[in-house]
């Protein structure tokens, strides 16, 4: 059982800790400031936080002492004169820092940052400075990228292969899945099998909307993707995707959040909603769906979750798993945990602000 959680909300960061069966808020940070993403880099025991100041822009902060003190580092910046795809009429600037991800264990100074309007940045000095990954930003397919929910495309997923740090998978929403096998020098789009109901060519090479992608730690060739148009799984690093949305009438299909099992490449959890047009829980009942057979079948886990008049959504980075524990926070400020892989849930609080990010430390 993991004992600490980082919870990023619209009104600040909470560090929650577990004492026996109880979870309590150990400390609160960045009060009243939207915290987009927070995670602990195990390689360097550093907590990283992305802020979205309403007035002052997106910022990055880090703490090397478990949250006792914080240091602001210079946020990623787009080069002078760069413009935003797909029409290149708007100057490029860091509107929003979607997430921060560590590089491989063999490159402890490397960090990746995903931003709106679609730029991936990397640092090789522990986050002291960031450079735009021009090879992806200038990819020939970027005329097929566009915004969804926000005005501009965003890098919302970054996955580094634990077997080979040069292999990096990136999800651009909207743009699709891109993989580099040479540390970011070249990028290949991997969207075969994905369906996009909003494109003239539903199976286009580019322009797909991966809300989130996660690799199975036990077999990183297995990628899971909660897409705008369904749930997908790939057994070959994203070269081919299979639609694993629930074919039996269950809710798994549309959604944002995703968690995968550390030990079993067939097991994952999603947080379904009705559809892009109806962004509410299916039948107004909160459910987490779990597959234990690679998406062949899904179980709906409802014990302890509200089953009527519920309007909570779970954002893409607001569900996490560690061991048998799962935790998620919602757009309505509710926070739930499970100690048994989602079979039973309990609510820790109804009173948070919108939850953007949940990560076990």
């Amino acid at each position: 059982m993991q004992h600490k959680l980082l919870v990023g909300t619209r009104k600040g960061l909470l560090i929650m800790s577990r004492d026996g069966a109880d979870w309590t808020v150990e400390s609160a940070h960045f009060e009243a400031i939207p915290v987009v993403y927070a995670f602990r880099d195990k390689r360097t025991d550093t907590i990283w936080v992305s802020l979205d100041h309403g007035h002052w822009g997106g910022k990055l902060h880090r703490s090397r002492d478990g949250g006792a003190t914080w240091e602001e580092v210079e946020a990623p910046k787009y080069p002078e004169g760069d413009t935003v795809p797909p029409d290149f009429s708007v100057p490029a600037k860091t509107n929003y820092i979607w997430l921060i991800e560590p590089g491989g264990v063999d490159e402890p100074q490397r960090l990746y940052v995903g931003t709106d309007p679609g730029g991936l940045f990397l640092s090789d000095d522990g986050g002291d400075s960031f450079q735009l990954v021009e090879t992806l930003w200038n990819h020939h397919s970027n005329t097929h990228w566009f915004g969804a929910g926000r005005d501009h495309p965003g890098v919302v997923t970054i996955q580094v292969d634990p077997r080979d740090s040069r292999c990096v998978t990136v999800g651009i929403s909207v743009g699709g899945v891109y993989v580099s096998q040479d540390g970011g020098e070249t990028w290949e789009a991997r969207n075969r099998g994905l369906f996009a109901d909003y494109l003239p060519d539903n199976y286009a090479e580019f322009g797909h909307d991966p809300h989130i992608i996660l690799a199975s730690p036990s077999n990183p060739d297995v990628l899971w993707q909660q897409n705008h148009c369904g749930m997908y799984r790939s057994a070959d690093g994203g070269r081919d995707w299979q639609d694993i949305s629930d074919k039996n009438g269950g809710p798994a299909g549309f959604g944002f959040a995703l968690a995968v099992d550390e030990q079993d490449e067939r097991v994952a959890w999603v947080a379904p909603a009705v559809s892009a047009e109806y962004r509410v829980p299916v039948d107004r009942a909160l459910v987490i769906s779990r597959t234990e057979d690679g998406g062949e079948t899904w179980q709906d886990l409802r014990d302890g979750l509200p089953q009527e008049h519920c309007y909570d959504l779970i954002f893409r980075h607001a569900l996490d798993k560690r061991g048998d524990a799962l935790a998620f926070g919602t757009t309505a400020g509710n926070f739930y945990v499970s100690d048994d892989r989602g079979d039973h849930w309990r609510c820790l609080t109804h009173n948070l602000a919108v939850v953007y990010s949940v990560r076990f430390m």
Partner: protein, 90 residues
């Protein structure tokens, strides 16, 4: 030298921020100058392309800044500059 004042809200991030006087020809030069004194302050006022952030206002005298892209509004020795947040949020 132009007189520059800031919203007190910026003191949360720059605790020793205070009113100052700066010799500058335009507002862009003022932003450069205050950033030299309070390192990183410019990033709170303008984006990386030099444009005023969407939810920040700068008053030049009693008038709102006109050139929000390059901050070329001229200032003189007796100009008062006030850097504030826009009335937006939630």
């Amino acid at each position: 030298m132009a007189q520059v004042k800031f919203t007190p809200n910026l003191k949360r991030f720059f605790p020793d921020l205070c009113e100052c006087r700066i010799d500058a020809a335009d507002v862009a030069e003022i932003v450069v100058a205050v950033d030299q004194r309070w390192r990183g302050l410019a990033d709170y006022i303008i984006d990386e392309q030099g444009a005023l952030r969407k939810h920040v206002n700068i008053f030049v005298g009693d008038e709102l800044l006109r050139d929000k892209q390059t901050l070329s509004d001229r200032v003189s020795a007796d100009t008062k500059i006030y850097i504030v947040q826009a009335l937006s949020g939630g």
